[in-house]
């Protein structure tokens, strides 16, 4: 090896014992880092199953019966509750008139004649009492659902009512089906495990990787008598 050759630096061909050891430490550190960061997300991706929320499963069984008119009162309640849970998910959905029409129509269908008039009045006035709707939907002890009711109603005349609409399916698929697996469904310290892992364990492991690497390199520097000119 001539003089000029010896000045070549290549990560994959470390030329001195120090560089060999340094590169080894880097490769080990980066491998742990890479597997912990990206490996886990890939595992999460591989293991996931698209899982519908419980309310959507019930809805999917009941919805066809709404179309042919054979749905029972309980099934209509379940459908209305599904619409309501969907409406409660985001402010954007509260602007979806098709969804609100479906919700209002289903509730309308559930009520007695006298209450139907109250519903139409309530739809035009969000400040009106909604107690009879909450009772009909069986959500009187669920404050989160009750809070959504006034925002989910839309003023619609009985002839324009529709309890289902094909346009709703993609929206419901989008909001009700989630990528779940044992990693997301196991609860650790109150967290869904994958969330705990990514938000806390992974960050902590970054600090540990850095800590260990610093100690390893400090020892290496002593061993090879490097960096002395800086001391």
């Amino acid at each position: 090896m001539d003089e000029s050759q010896s000045y070549n630096v290549n990560f994959f061909k470390p030329s001195t014992p120090f560089l060999k050891e340094n590169v080894r430490a880097i490769v080990i550190g980066l491998t742990i880092w890479g597997v912990m960061t990206y490996g886990f997300q890939i595992l999460l991706k591989i293991m996931e199953t698209p899982t519908p929320e419980a309310t959507y499963v019930v809805f999917q069984q009941a919805a066809p019966k709404l179309a042919d008119g054979t749905a029972s009162a309980e099934e209509k309640v379940a459908v209305a509750n599904t619409y309501l849970a969907l409406l409660g998910k985001s402010a954007a959905l509260l602007k979806n008139d098709t969804l609100k029409t479906a919700f209002t129509s289903t509730v309308y269908n559930l009520l007695s004649d006298a209450e139907r008039g109250n519903l139409l009045a309530a739809a035009a006035d969000p400040k009106a009492s909604m107690g009879f709707i909450n009772t009909a939907l069986g959500i009187t002890d669920n404050k989160a659902m009750m809070a959504v009711v006034p925002y989910g109603l839309i003023a619609v005349t009985p002839d324009k009512m529709a309890m289902t609409d094909p346009a709703l399916k993609p929206i419901m698929d989008k909001f009700f089906i989630h990528n779940q697996s044992v990693l997301t469904d196991t609860i650790v310290f109150g967290f869904p495990f994958h969330y705990l892992y990514t938000a806390l364990i992974l960050l902590t492991s970054f600090v540990i990787i850095c800590l260990v690497y610093c100690q390893v390199i400090d020892k290496m520097m002593k061993k090879y008598d490097m960096e002395h000119s800086f001391e």
């Binding site: 630096v9 991706k45 998910k89 089906i177 109150g190 938000a199 850095c210 390199i217």
Partner: protein, 544 residues
Amino acid sequence: MLLVALPAFAASGTSLEGSFKTMPAIILIACILLFLVVGFMNKAEGTADFYAAGRSISRVGSGMAIASNWMSAASFLGMAAIMYGTGYHGLSYVVGWTGGYCLLLLLMASQIRRFGKYTATDFIGDRFYSSGMRFWTAIIAIFISFCYSVGQFGGIGLMFKWIFGMNYSASVIVGGLVVLSYTLISGMLGVTKNQIVQYVILITAFLIPAFILTFKFDYFWLIPELGYGRVVSDIVAGSQTPFINSLGHVMQTVPQPEFAMPWDTATGKDFFQWMATCFALMIGTAGLPHVIQKFYVVPKPADARWSVTWGLFFICLLYWTAPLYSAFGRILSSNPEVGNLAKDAIVVYTAQLGSVNPLIVGFLAAGAVSAAFSTVSGLLVAGSSAFSNDIYFKLINPEASGSQQILAARLATVAMALGIILVALLKLALVAQLVALAFSIAGCTIFPLFLLGIWWSRSNRPGGIASLSVGGFFTVFSIFYFICGKFGVALPGASFVGYWLNPWYFAWIASPLAILANIVVSLNTEDTPEHIRKHLASEVHGVR
């Protein structure tokens, strides 16, 4: 007949904002004055002293300085905002902005220190023996500072709006001018000590409400970073807590698994975007000039390593806690009556909705402004010194006197700040996204040059130029498509580019391609001059 009911989104964001808030305003002004006083007490006497200021500071102290230099409005406000909006996708920002430090430490920190230059531009100019590349890296450094600052100004604007009750545009202008004056006054003041003070303020401001929220709502409050786990599970399952928020709504929500489940379709973000964002932010971290520059000012390479580790720990103190705000924010604002909240202010709104004492909320807002201030003034100094030193002095007027250089730097600072204010007024995207753009640019231009420059002596000037050209091309291409899209100009393949080469994460592919271009061109051109290889081998890698 179709009557449309208009539910009263009466309360909405407005009742949370209100008008001028006296105590928060006093706290904010007191913080800024404190920074100035600390700065004057540690005034630097000239350039060498300015850089050497770190010498009297411990590793823990310079770790704090790294953390405060790093954490900006994007960390303080932006991360919680993006998790509030897109759930698990937001964690790719949390992971990307911390994991990048491993890359930086393992591959670069002590090597950069041993190379012995003062700035990123100097390193690239010397290592690739090219004044042209020095010029272009300076331009890129200025542009990165610019994009990074646009996000910060947006955050400052939101907090000024909240504290002083002005509209957003007026807040951005006033907030921007205050930062500009602060930077011009404090330009040469003791930076490192100041950053330690800024860190202590911002982390205290961020952590106190976290303890209060978890305590008040009966979660495990001794370690709020663990305690909020049940909040996440409550959001997934639909909660039944007995508490109410400051607007009188129950703290309950319908089941929202989309908040925590990975790449949920409801968030509109998928697996690829998670991985690409995370990766782009990581390599961007390892390529940001103002981050890399921190390693030149520590006395020893060992200090460079340990201060990164301490810095990462101090950064994590905030990053472990940030998702807490998004979770509490989600559950406290779930009542439809709250309406749409400005996502970037969700940290402050969360504290307000949780009925945290207004003084503490004011301190929180002041902490957000401090976070933005410390980073912006650093960025403006970095950008303007790149102009005055690398462009004006080295290329335009090599005869310039010291005072002419300082004048050039001042003018560049003013010009940059005004430009940033103008762009911030356009409100192009969320704070965290605008900052992510700066990371993607750094990740595909500067990172490849440092990586290969340090670890492969064969990488030469033509290779460096090729690498910079590829990175630069992708940057311009992606931003061009983004801006055209914003102004409604339809370009061919816009949806393809918007997905695969999105401005927040185009570095995922641009960076590997830039590295490839560097390798291919280097191998087909003359070897690097011997004196550079010798310096690299003996000084940086200890080959004797």
